[in-house]
């Protein structure tokens, strides 16, 4: 199998407590003492301690991977708990790194956990990847996905990949010596806004579990050098249909990073490459924005404002401020429902979609359009604390 990973089982030993703990591995020929020592000698880096990272890190820790690095800079919040099973209700507000490390240690005190409290960047990725044998990509945005891939190719580390959306997932093993990389599959990211993020599109809570466990399985197989890894194959998982399909991936000779004449020889600016400030970044405020306080004041004063809600109907059911509902995607064909002479306040959940809606309306000849800064979440925070947040 053509992977660059080269762990040194001769450098480690198991004590009697570890032998007992790993007995179900030790008695199977595919692992055995030799395999278990390989696991202990292995260093795996999990990028992200979120939906995919939760089951991934828990299983790798339980299985006896000797050194587990986790890169994360985020804090646990209530909306994480529906799927990020490494964190508990009591962890809300704590660093995900601390919460994750504590759970892994509780399962297996023999794991050496390296907490890397930073955002993975072009400045630190190569240096960091050098210290690990395998990188598992559990991030949630295109810039970090391309960064992880390129850094894996440039440092010769396999990239165990999975991504999820609603109830569908993809998994593969990229950047092995002779196998394709993520860029062979997708040379370019989609333009910002065309593919919704999990925060916008939602995700079935069990789905990262399913995909994260597939990632953990691939990591273990690479370390043990056993079985058929997902190299050159893209696994598609459809949890609703419960269908697993597989597509062939080829190494693209013209790939900009792993091809015959690569044009990318060092890490680049991935936010610029993806044309975004980052999917979850708050939208810049402009003069055309209106604050929730201002909106409240003007509605109370009886001003003739038309409140346009550009979220989806199922979001409207969670909470609303009596706006006229036209989902952003339907706006072009339903724009005739709106009066160009009226003053319009567009809002969504946090302000990103309504900014697009406001731009669209201004281009369509509406002169008096505002975007509600911070969306209905700001309204719930600052005007109506009884309102449900999501």
């Amino acid at each position: 199998m053509a992977t660059a990973i080269d762990v040194k089982p001769e450098t480690v030993t198991l004590n009697n407590d570890e032998i007992l703990r790993y007995s179900r591995h030790l008695i199977m020929p595919e692992v055995g003492m030799e395999g278990q020592l390989k696991l202990k000698a292995a260093k795996v880096l999990c990028v992200g301690a979120g939906g995919l990272g939760s089951p991934l890190a828990l299983y790798l820790g339980a299985a006896g991977v000797g050194t587990l690095g986790i890169v994360d800079f985020d804090v646990v919040d209530f909306t994480n708990l529906q799927r990020q099973i490494i964190h508990t209700t009591a962890d809300v507000g704590r660093k995900k790194l601390d919460s994750a490390a504590e759970k892994i240690k509780a399962i297996n005190p023999f794991v050496n956990i390296r907490k890397i409290d930073t955002r993975l960047s072009s400045e630190n990725a190569l240096e960091l990847f050098k210290e690990f044998d395998i990188i598992a990509d559990g991030t949630d945005n295109f810039p970090t996905r391309y960064l992880t891939n390129d850094a894996c190719v440039l440092s010769g580390k396999p990239n165990v990949y999975a991504s999820i959306f609603r109830f569908e997932g993809q998994a593969s093993v990229f950047a092995t010596k002779d196998g394709p990389c993520y860029r062979c599959l997708y040379p370019e990211p989609p333009p910002p806004g065309l593919v919704p993020s999990c925060a916008e599109g939602g995700v079935l809570g069990i789905l990262p579990g399913l995909l994260g466990v597939i990632q953990a399985t691939e990591v273990i197989k690479l370390i043990l050098k056993t079985g058929d890894p997902l190299i050159g194959r893209l696994l598609l998982v459809d949890a609703l249909g419960m269908k697993f399909r597989e597509l062939k991936l080829r190494k693209n000779p013209d790939c900009p990073v792993c091809g015959k004449n690569p044009t990318i020889k060092e890490l680049i600016d991935y936010n610029e490459f993806c044309g975004i400030r980052g999917e979850e970044m708050p939208v810049e405020t402009t003069n055309a924005d209106i604050s929730v306080e201002e909106l409240k004041r003007r509605l109370d004063a009886g001003d003739d404002l038309f409140v346009l809600d550009v979220r989806e109907p199922h979001e409207y059911q969670i909470c609303n401020i009596n706006g006229h509902l036209i989902p952003l995607g339907d706006l072009p064909k339903r724009v005739n429902e709106l009066d160009p002479n009226k003053e319009i306040v567009a809002h969504c959940r946090s302000g990103a979609r309504s900014a697009k809606a406001a731009d669209f309306l201004r281009n369509a000849g509406f002169h008096n359009v505002h975007n509600l800064a911070g969306g209905i979440l700001a309204w719930a925070d600052r005007i109506d604390p009884k309102m449900a947040k999501y």
């Binding site: 992200g48 991504s163 959306f165 593919v195």
Partner: protein
């Protein structure tokens, strides 16, 4: 008839259908049949210049059409076409 599998992010443009059947002799015809019956899908699959977008991969059964004859790749009854866009979610 050839079945085109529609990925979740694009189903909002096909009236929530997970698969659409088209009559076509090659990949290009199949996709243009698809966007003709579901016009909202067009800008997600094609650039303004009418080229297939780089982040949308099209597979005939389990083969990437970029490694076959691209849009000229012929299809027959019972073939499965899959549109596989990149997704990034993980948290």
């Amino acid at each position: 008839m050839t079945k085109i599998h529609i990925p979740t992010p694009l189903r909002q443009y096909t009236g929530k259908q997970a698969a659409v059947e088209v009559k076509a002799s090659n990949i290009g015809e199949a996709l243009s049949g698809l966007v003709t019956s579901h016009p909202d899908l067009r800008r997600h699959l094609y650039t303004d210049e009418g080229k297939l977008r780089a982040f949308v991969n099209v597979y005939l059964n389990d083969e990437d059409v970029r490694y076959l004859q691209k849009e000229a790749t012929s299809v027959s009854d019972g073939d499965n076409i899959s549109i596989v866009p990149s997704i990034a979610g993980g948290r």
